[in-house]
Symmetry: C2
Amino acid sequence: MNKQYSRRNLDFMLKEVLQVAELTKFSYFQDYTPDMFDMVLDTTEEIADKILRNAYVSSDRNQPQLINGQVKVHSAVKDYVKAMGDAGMIAATFAYENGGQQLPTVVNAASEMIRGSANNAFVMFTGLTAGSANLIFSFGSDELKEKYAQRLVTGEWTGSMCLTEPQAGSSLSDVITTAFPQSDGTFKIKGQKVFISAGDHDIADNIIHLVLARIEGAPLGTKGISLFVVPKFRANADGTEFNVDNDVISTGIYHKMGQKATPAMHLTFGDKDNSVGYLVGEANKGLSYMFQMMNEARLGVGMGGTYIASAAYYASLEYAKERPQGRKLNNKNLEEEQTYIINHPDVKRMLLFQKAVVEGSLGLLLECYHWQDMIHGLGKASEEAKPYQLMLDLMTTVAKTYPAEMGIKAVNEGLQVFGGYGYTEDFPLEQMARDVRIMSIYEGTTGIHSLNLLGRGVTLNNGKAPQLLFNEIMKSIELANTFDELKPYAEKLEKELGRLQKVTMHLLSIAAKGDNEAFLADANLYMEFFGITSVAWIWLKQAIVAKQALITQNLEESESSFYESKIHTMKFFYHYELIKNYALATRLTDTTLLTVDSEKHIVFQ
Amino acid sequence: MNKQYSRRNLDFMLKEVLQVAELTKFSYFQDYTPDMFDMVLDTTEEIADKILRNAYVSSDRNQPQLINGQVKVHSAVKDYVKAMGDAGMIAATFAYENGGQQLPTVVNAASEMIRGSANNAFVMFTGLTAGSANLIFSFGSDELKEKYAQRLVTGEWTGSMCLTEPQAGSSLSDVITTAFPQSDGTFKIKGQKVFISAGDHDIADNIIHLVLARIEGAPLGTKGISLFVVPKFRANADGTEFNVDNDVISTGIYHKMGQKATPAMHLTFGDKDNSVGYLVGEANKGLSYMFQMMNEARLGVGMGGTYIASAAYYASLEYAKERPQGRKLNNKNLEEEQTYIINHPDVKRMLLFQKAVVEGSLGLLLECYHWQDMIHGLGKASEEAKPYQLMLDLMTTVAKTYPAEMGIKAVNEGLQVFGGYGYTEDFPLEQMARDVRIMSIYEGTTGIHSLNLLGRGVTLNNGKAPQLLFNEIMKSIELANTFDELKPYAEKLEKELGRLQKVTMHLLSIAAKGDNEAFLADANLYMEFFGITSVAWIWLKQAIVAKQALITQNLEESESSFYESKIHTMKFFYHYELIKNYALATRLTDTTLLTVDSEKHIVFQ
């Protein structure tokens, strides 16, 4: 199997750009030495190589089946979850007291990059299991922690998140699954949940569903939502075994375009009035708890766009280097052999676009994970951690959306590099294109996140979060200005930052008039603008580190070309992608409303 | 089944914008009255309704199989080809003497819009059959016409075009299939062809392959390529029956991402030295002949992007009108019922984008077909027909590429409107997304067509063709300037036309220096620029006609809202799409080369 990610790039990001060794100075991470981070990635590569890659195609062709109420998944899923559990990697980032290893999340994300590029669908199982466990550890009772979370951490059981209902997709306010209080303090759960990833399977003895439901009589909207642990099997009377069917029925399985190896389930809770749920934390606070898992999952979806795009990039790069076709545009001599397609400018453009998206998206995501680690290191409650928390909250939505949307485009370009072959099952690109397509829908569509960013993220606390982010960006601009080669790009970014601020002010002036429809109508374009500008910053940061290495070190050619390639790709991003901001800004400051009904309804014919 | 195309829009395009009734003044079309065009579309709708729609999903789930060297396709393919043959619609545009009905190609394209939106994969069978027949009628001997073409016209047999070889995808210069001359004037064909659509099936007694091959000893490159008729079964000794196996072997069948109902074959000719081919026209002129069929097929691929996007648009429009979710941004009262998603600005934006792409692409394609009809009407050899031929030659490549590339994007937005449901097999969007993805690859990738447009189309005859096109655009701008509501858009288009000319001059100045690599490096972006500007013109034309109708006619509300919707969508195109030109022009006039190797090779890591 060809290369699907670049270890050299992961090392560059972790060691040179983010300098993760610095994290070990915090007491939270003090048990680590930098070479232990390398070992995590080495172990990951082994799991990817032995289990994940081999099952990528076969688990797509043989998708999960729902037979007699029970889902069967590809047998390698079990091997994968077991290997991850055995290596202590499902919940590696958790605190020691919760069965974790206090691994920096940025290193964990690098591990996910390796696993996801090998088999993106399998990674869902461990991601959801860790997220469920973390939710219980954060907000659940000691009993819930002991009974459920401890067995998720090891991979003995797996978890799922149950939010979406048939009548309430993006609108969680309208969740109607109901929890009826019982005299023993438990609840009877009744309702339908749809699109529940890994919601049923045959790889573990139990599945722990984290379910949003409304306690009978609770207030309308998000303020009346509570969170419950609802296991597939609950404990028997003496609590010794979990073998009582908890009335969670696999009503249906969705046949999906891609990511087929992860079953997406339609689950029915309490069809026989016998589904017991256990309240997590306080009543009516469920959605705020769930946001923790959702935010983790959102970065995970951004990773999904990135690692599938990475696998697609390396597949098309390999193909472009080996596939002869046509001749150079300056040399049409038919006597000569055909040239490799990588030598055609248009193919180079497609490859550079992919590289720019993959490494830019990864950089943005690792930046977020690094902020998360700074929060862990400094202590969540500390004053010093606050700026990181604010930036993380702001950027989670961008770090989910940019890699998802651009990952789809990048994989599409990868397929195009293959020409007709890319459209066939003989190469992995068509599967990757099907797999990656979900990323702009999972965990909140691009539309929802865009409303979030503009309607909430940039305005909260008087715009404190974007101000902090812009300060960070200005630091990079100032540093880049000290290098002649980077100066023009620093200037471009500064200009775009100014443009972004101007556009934001314009939109906020509409919001101030109270017209939310007009204010948010093009939130999607604002997200695109924000994403491009943020990734331009990430590329400048990478170029600075590359430039410093080229100047200060005596490098072998393979190493200097790595850094030169970084600078080249940064330039590509600025010359081909950043320029799109102008059109976005034009539209965002254009006051002609075309998607908002005013006097009359827009007619579609 | 929901609406998949708009008959009202087809009538608008044919009758009001292009005024096809005028064509009946030409002697070539004199047997038609306008209501006969309506009847063609009515008959098409019957075929679509009875055969095509019902088989759309099932022919995807049960894809063609290669069993014992013979391909079996979905049984409804046979019904479809028979119905088309019986209705005389396979070759309806052909001259009477060739078994056709001299139907204007623009009406035929409208028929294809109806069929293709119902079942895009089936349409390939009749399209390839008509193209093969037309090639023989145009360049073949009387014997070939009688023996083969006449039986293609009726749908008794079907045709295929065999260009691509394993070592020569986009590079036809490198075709190596060989034709060995025999003493009886025939040739023995030997070689491999790949991705041959409808290259084998079980719906007809014979398949007539139109094969590009090199006569033994022919010159290198495209100047040594000849065209052959190679039937699956050739005639027996006395010529009474076609029952002699002609050594065309189905070596393999490609499993594709989409358009699964059309088998894509790997064919081996002459494995037993027994594949007889019949030369079409003169030796070594094969590629120029084939260009006729390729150009027809290119417009057909543009239609493919358009009709799949049309079906996706109407599916998502229907869904958006029926799916309640969330509340209006200016009214978050939870006591109220959820609103339909069509009321959210972001969903409206996605729907308007789809509508703008579908109706803009269709307009561009019908413009090209109308030029084709003007050529037929005026007579191909006449002086008056020349401008139309020049514009058609220039724009075929744009009318293939814009609808293909933008059709992919539009279907993608349609899927997004459905959210998670769009990703499942419960709705047709995921299939449409898989189907449409091939359009930017079929009949020359976007990269190849972009080289064609910039490297050849705009420069031929001292740029005569773009000059003619610009004159046409200026006529529309002048007319639009007479309406207050349209004037601002006419001005925008005039500005963009000036920008396009400036960019073109800049690029030609690089070409003048002889550096083809630098000249053509961003041909792909030039194509995008050219396409957006062309479709902006098409939208202005439609808006002018709509505005005239609104001013001069006393309309019922349903009719006035049709026209208002046209003007609204034109505005949407200008405010959201045309603005992208600025970034494209910026890059196209930016002299920093990033995809061309100069001193050193760009390193990808």
